[in-house]
C-alpha cells in the first residue's frame, strides 16, 4: 500500500519560521543516481595513518647509516610520537649530550643501552654520568625510492 503523499507546504513547520527540508531533497537529481552513493567514504589519507596524535607528532631527517639494519636510511624522514610508550626494543630519538641521535633503546639487566642497527657502530651504555634524555619514539621511517 502506498503511503499518502503530504505536500511539504501542508506540513507544520518543525521549529521557528524556516521550513526544514531533508538534505537529500535540497538538490534535484538529474540523470541516474550513482549506485555507489550509499557507500561513500572519505578517501584514504596517508597522514592519518602516519600521525595518530597530531599534537605529539614531529618529523626529523636522518643523517647517517647506523640504523640501516632497522630499515632507517641516510636521508630518511622519520615520524616521532612523543606520547607513545618507549619499551625495551623501541627505536627512539634521544638527546645525547648536545645532539639528537636515533637508536634502538634496550634494557639489559635493568640498565639502559642505545644500540645501533649496523655492525660498524658500537652500542652505548647509558650511565648516571651520561647527559641523556629520551625525546620520543620513532613510529615510521619514510624512504624516498630512487
Amino acid at each position: 500500500m502506498a503511503l499518502p503523499v503530504v505536500p511539504y507546504a501542508a506540513r507544520p513547520p518543525s521549529t521557528g519560521d524556516a521550513l526544514e527540508l531533508p538534505f537529500s531533497l535540497a538538490c534535484v537529481p538529474a540523470g541516474f543516481p550513482s549506485p555507489a552513493e550509499d557507500h561513500l567514504e572519505n578517501s584514504l589519507d596517508i597522514a592519518k595513518y602516519l600521525v595518530k596524535r597530531p599534537k605529539a607528532t614531529f618529523f626529523m631527517r636522518v643523517a647517517g647509516d647506523s640504523m640501516v639494519g632497522a630499515g632507517i636510511h641516510d636521508g630518511d624522514m622519520i615520524v616521532i610520537d612523543r606520547a607513545d610508550q618507549v619499551k625495551d626494543g623501541s627505536i627512539v630519538v634521544a638527546r645525547l649530550n648536545e645532539e639528537f641521535v636515533v637508536k634502538r633503546y634496550r634494557l639489559i639487566d635493568g640498565r639502559p643501552w642505545l644500540y645501533p642497527a649496523n655492525e660498524a657502530y658500537e652500542p652505548i651504555e647509558v650511565t648516571e654520568d651520561t647527559d641523556f634524555e629520551i625525546w620520543g619514539r620513532v613510529t615510521f621511517a619514510i624512504t624516498t625510492l630512487r
Partner: protein, 420 residues
C-alpha cells in the same frame, strides 16, 4: 574549579625542544627586528638580564656569559602553542586560551581525588607530548588561580603545581604576592594602593567594598571579590569578535622612500584582508599610519588617516587602493620612517553587508578570486599567490637575523637527527 596553565619561558622553551645545545644554558629571545629581550630562561634571569632590555645594551653580558640569542620565530611558537592547547583540551570542555602561552580551564575531580594530583597530571602530559614545561595554579576563581600560578612557578616545593582549593595556605599565598602582581591591577592603581598602605594581595582582599569601588570602580571590586574566592570573571570560551584588525610592524631599517612605504602598506593590507576573510567579515574603514623612529635623534613625524570603505568590502584590491590613497595624503618625503601599519575597522559580517547596486558581477568574480587566493596560500604556504607585484625584500622588511629553523611548519627546516 579554575586552573591557570602557563608555559614557562614559552618562546625559549620552544627553542629548547628542538635544539639540544640550549639545554641548561641561558637563552633569550628578541622582539621583531631583534630589538628587545621578550623571553628569557631562568639561567638568563639569574644573570640579571631584564625583560624588555634592549639587546645592544647587554651585548657585553651576552658575550661574557655565552648567552644564546634567538630572533623570534612566531611560526614555531604558534604551532607549539596550538599543540599545548590541544593537550589541555583533553582535560576540559571549557578552555579559555588567554594568550599564546596561557589558558584557563574549568576542571573537576572526584570526591577523593586532589586538585594538586590533577595539576601534576596536566603538567606531566603537556611536557611529555610537547616538550614544553608548564606551571599550573588552581583555585575557585580566575584571579586566585593566577595567584596560585605565581607561586607554582617560583616555589621549589610546589615544583610547578599549586592548588589553593580549600587550602590553609591561601592567606599566606596572598600575603606573599606584591599587589602589583595581582591580575587586573595596573601600574596606576598600584601607586594609589601603595599610597594607602596596601602592599600585598592580602591587604587588597581585606579592603572595604565601598573604598575599593570609589577608587577602582566596579572592575576593581570584581578583582577583590575574586580574591575572596567568589567567581565574578567568567571564562571566555569563544573569543569575542574583534572590533579592529591591525597589522603593523617596525621596519628592518628606516626609509624615506614612498615606494618602500607602498610595498609595506601593500603587504600589511594583504595580511589584514586575509584575517578579515578568515573571520568572514567586511571592513567599513581603513586607517593607515606611518611613524619615524622615536628613539633616534632628528626630526620626528607621525600621522594617520582613516578612509571610509563604501560599500563595505573584504577585497584586497579595493582596500589596498584606499590604503594607498591614504598613504599619499600623509606621506612627507623629508622624513625617515621606521614603522607603518594598516587598521581595518567598521567590521561587519560579510553576509550581512548590503548588496551592491552596481558592479555586482565584478564583485562576485572578485569574491571568488579572493577565495581561490586564500585557498592556495592555505595549501601551499603564505604568499604563494600575491595580489599585485611589490618588492618583497626591502628596508621595510622586519629583520630576524638569528631566527631558528621553523621545525614544525616547513619541510625544508625540520630537525636533523644523527645516525652514527
Amino acid at each position: 574549579m579554575i586552573a591557570l596553565v602557563d608555559c614557562n619561558s614559552f618562546y625559549c622553551s620552544c627553542e629548547r625542544v628542538f635544539d639540544p645545545t640550549l639545554v641548561g644554558r641561558p637563552v633569550v629571545v628578541l622582539s621583531n627586528n631583534d630589538g628587545n629581550i621578550i623571553a628569557r630562561t631562568s639561567e638568563a634571569k639569574a644573570l640579571g638580564i631584564a625583560m624588555g632590555a634592549p639587546a645592544f645594551k647587554i651585548r657585553d653580558l651576552i658575550k661574557w656569559h655565552g648567552v644564546i640569542v634567538r630572533s623570534s620565530n612566531y611560526e614555531l611558537y604558534g604551532d607549539m602553542s596550538a599543540r599545548v592547547m590541544d593537550c589541555l583540551s583533553d582535560f576540559t570542555d571549557e578552555l579559555e586560551t588567554y594568550s599564546i602561552d596561557e589558558a584557563f580551564l574549568r576542571v573537576y575531580v572526584g570526591a577523593k581525588d586532589s586538585f594538586a594530583d590533577l595539576g601534576r597530571e596536566i603538567r606531566g602530559r603537556v611536557l611529555k607530548h610537547t616538550g614544553i614545561p608548564v606551571s599550573v595554579g588552581m583555585a575557585e576563581t580566575k584571579t586566585l588561580a593566577k595567584v596560585a600560578n605565581y607561586h607554582a612557578k617560583r616555589s621549589e616545593k610546589a615544583a610547578g603545581v599549586l592548588s589553593l582549593v580549600r587550602s590553609a595556605y591561601r592567606d599566606l599565598a596572598l600575603a606573599r604576592l606584591p599587589v602589583d602582581e595581582v591580575w587586573g591591577v595596573g601600574p596606576r592603581y598600584t601607586e594609589m594602593l601603595r599610597r594607602h598602605g596596601i602592599e600585598t594581595a592580602l591587604d587588597l582582599r581585606d579592603a572595604p567594598d565601598d573604598w575599593v569601588r570609589d577608587r577602582m570602580t566596579v572592575v576593581g571590586l570584581r578583582t577583590v571579590t575574586e580574591l575572596r574566592g567568589t567567581p565574578c570573571i567568567p571564562l571566555e570560551i569563544t573569543p569575542p569578535n574583534k572590533k579592529l584588525i591591525t597589522v603593523s610592524r617596525s621596519f628592518g631599517a628606516a626609509t624615506a622612500s614612498l615606494d618602500e612605504l607602498r610595498a609595506a602598506i601593500a603587504f600589511y593590507t594583504a595580511r589584514a584582508a586575509e584575517k578579515l576573510r578568515r573571520q568572514k567579515l567586511a571592513a567599513g574603514a581603513v586607517t593607515v599610519f606611518i611613524e619615524t623612529d622615536r628613539f633616534k635623534p632628528g626630526p620626528q613625524y607621525s600621522n594617520s588617516v582613516t578612509l571610509n570603505v563604501a560599500p563595505k568590502s573584504d577585497n584586497t584590491w579595493e582596500l589596498r587602493e584606499l590604503a594607498f590613497s591614504g598613504l599619499a595624503r600623509i606621506y612627507k618625503p623629508e622624513y625617515d620612517y621606521r614603522r607603518a601599519g594598516v587598521t581595518l575597522g567598521g567590521l561587519e559580517l560579510a553576509d550581512l553587508v548590503a548588496k551592491r547596486l552596481w558592479e555586482d558581477d565584478w564583485y562576485e568574480r572578485q569574491r571568488r578570486l579572493m577565495a581561490a587566493v586564500d585557498r592556495l596560500n592555505g595549501k601551499y604556504g603564505r604568499d604563494t599567490v600575491r595580489c599585485g607585484l611589490f618588492h618583497t625584500e626591502g628596508l621595510w622588511r622586519t629583520r630576524f637575523a638569528k631566527r631558528s629553523p621553523r621545525y614544525t611548519t616547513r619541510w625544508s627546516e625540520i630537525c636533523e637527527v644523527a645516525a652514527k
